[in-house]
Amino acid sequence: MLSIATAILAQAAPPAVTPADFWLPIGASVQSGNVDFMFNMINYICYFFFAVVVAMMVVFVVRYRGKRGTRIRTDGITHHAVLELSWSVIPLLICIFIFFFGFTGYVDLITPPKNSYDVNVTAIKWGWQFKYPNGAQSDNLVVPSDCPVRLVMRSNDVLHCCFIPAFRVKKDIVPGRVTSLWFQCNIPTGLEEKDGYHLFCAEYCGTGHSNMNRRVFVLPQAEFDAWLTKQAAWLDEIPDEELYFKAGPKIYARCSQCHSIDGTEGLGPTWKGIWTRITTPSGARFSDGKSYADFIGPGKEYANAEEYIRDSIYNPGKHLVATFGNVMPTFKGQLNDRGVEAIIGMMQHLDEFDAKGAYAKTPPAAQK
């Protein structure tokens, strides 16, 4: 019986993409077919038992309905050992059967092949950073097709969970641990936003939890390699003087969840007027009562405002601006020196950006 069922499962090996149906979304990984087969099989078992219970219920209620005053029947049996044992033992056997295939399917689902391509994932309130072996970084997950991909995941703050419905994979990301999941998708999607698969955070992590979603793009190996090379160099390719308006808005997209640039209140201080606040002694105060002037300046903790901003990005809990909580995660390892430089440049030239952080001026180069 087991061998027959295994054969059925093998038969059910998926076509590359199974379209969405009443219950399940598009299935696009090599593993999704088995999961869907199992899901549908359980469904049919459930339909059957549900129909049996409801049919018995309806038939008996209609057949044996007796208004008040009807003589009470006394011919019903009180128990029936064979019947009761059969509806204990049959469900037990079915359960063991489902458990077994759920278990073997699970082992396949979570065991990555040896030759998998590793992507490092950092989850952080409320975004994702995908890091590749050549040093490239990306906000969306881009992976090669026809190749098993393993996500090696860390969290910088609280629990998160990586969930890609189309691939039927999910795994919690636990601070202080490294967890992983793997998948393989054989159908390239291109880099169009609408073609990418959803990647969700599935473990509640606070205010921005529901916006902590990205896209997964699958590229043929050659295109992927080209993308990877370009991606690794994107910050370095931008000339220094253009860094703040070319790289700034891209990086700010992450910061914008908490820091506005138009003065709107957020989880963190607004950037509006930030450079003036930092560089004048009467600027905003910290929760310990000190002002900026107490530790920025020659001979003080930070020699200059740039130093202070840099440290606030890497060690955000060190000095808290009054009334704000210690909620910002560190960006150490995610934002290199040029990235920080771009952010500082953007803060210094905020009037050149619109309320959403897009560059609103004609670039200096074009003015010439």
Binding site: P25, V35, V53, M57, Y64, G76, C161
Partner: protein, 567 residues
Amino acid sequence: MTTIDTPRQDVLDSTASTDNYLTHTRGFLSWILTLDHKRIGVMYTVSVLVSFLVGGMFALLLRTELLTPGRTICSAEAYNQFFTLHGAIMVFLVIIPSIPAALGNFVLPIMLGAKDVAFPRLNLFSYFLWLGGAGFTLYSLAAGGFDTGWTFYTPYSTTTTTGGVIPVLIGVFILGFSSIFTGLNFIVTVHKLRPPGMTWFKMPLFLWALYSTAIIQVLATPVLAITLCLLIVERVLNVGIFNPSMGGDPVLYQHFFWFYSHPAVYIMIVPAMGIISEIIAVHSHRQIFGYRFIAFSSIAIAMFSFIVWGHHMFMSGQSGLMNTIFSFISFSVAIPSAVKTFNWTMTLYKGTISLTAPMMYALSFLFLFTIGGLTGIHCATLNTDVHLHDTYFVVAHFHYVMMGSALIGMIGGLHHWWPKMTGKMYNEKIAITACIIVFIGFNMTFFTQFMLGSQGMPRRYYDYQPEFQIYHVISTIGSYILAIGFFTSAVCFIQSLMSGAKAPSNPWGGVSLEWQCASPPPHDNFKTTPHVGNCYDFSVVRWDEATKNYIVDHKAELAHSTSEGSH
């Protein structure tokens, strides 16, 4: 002899019908300082229903917010607080105390023919603890609310800046002790106060259910208390227990939390199963099918409940071996659940079924519990759970069990014992209409959520992808219908209190002891310890048109029970 047809002396006794537990003493203090299990039961019932109203309001706010992607009526911060409050209130203030503390308190001693529970003062103390816990929970709102989710997962719960976390943790800690003391009380009462002749296997099944529940309450709840203490210690004193940045382990917290909270699921559902056993038997006027299997399945569920907690953590990073073991054991819960479901259904076979309001709720329960139970299989199966974990599929699954089963069971029980508790009948037509509205609204709200989840919508989401909107709209409309249903039910009860017909002692035709004492019961329940027969032998019951009451023929009952005892 005419005495055969005469109901029990204490029912007809004129003092019994004028002096009842409601009129025995008067004044606010006579209620708040009462040691009478019936009054404590009534106070619990009112408190739980008020909490249900509050928790339900939060649910409606959530559903309204989810009508559209992005902002509909409130901010993400507010939404996160609402779902946290909805969960915490419904679990700790409503469902856990609803059946044992509210209905159980009222019914358990009467079913045993006892005057009260074993420790009446402890019982009152439990109620005050409940009030204290509810007070802290309420205070946490004033202190800034909390957005941790009802599960208080670390390290989010120890680092979030919302100010109400500590008060609510203290509140839940106190509520836990309320639950422990009620459980303790029931265990001792069932052991010590059973009347002569009522052996374990002659107890009404509701008592088996309450007894099983009480065991879980006493054994599991202390673990929650310790866990919450550790959480408070970590948050206040910065001692690293669960937070990895201080050397702790967040997965340890999940083990501790679910070691209580999974058994707590059965604290919620097992008493409802007990109520359904009573309602189906009484309103079908038919010996419950397979008494022993049902009784043992309650105990089996209580035992299994302690060793399946890991299925909440399949994705948490616990080892694959652990997942496999927990998956296997989780399936074992399916067996006693299946046994109960089939036995209830078979009880209808060759019954004499009255389609009363309680029976309608019991049938709703059967329908909804079957769906809730069967969808548990998807979640217990390892590879399908990977896809479904932390999605709306799970939300739908546990609402079918916690609300569609546990709460519907509670409401059904309330309809069942309402005439006994208040001495008033309610308008059956309105009550049945309310039940049907609730049934439709419930399925509309939560069945769509199965599809949402299996299509990949994660839970606890304030914002969502546009393709999910149609499901959310249907679900929200369903929740409004559900609210209308409960509102209709409330109107029905209020009308009953104001102008309901006087309830006879036995309006449904039950045989267990509570139907043999007046409605409402006198202060001491029974003047003398009553005679105990087979509480599911309905051949001794007949309808008396003159008094609109069912009458239990005690001579026949006695004859039956002795003939049963002889073989």
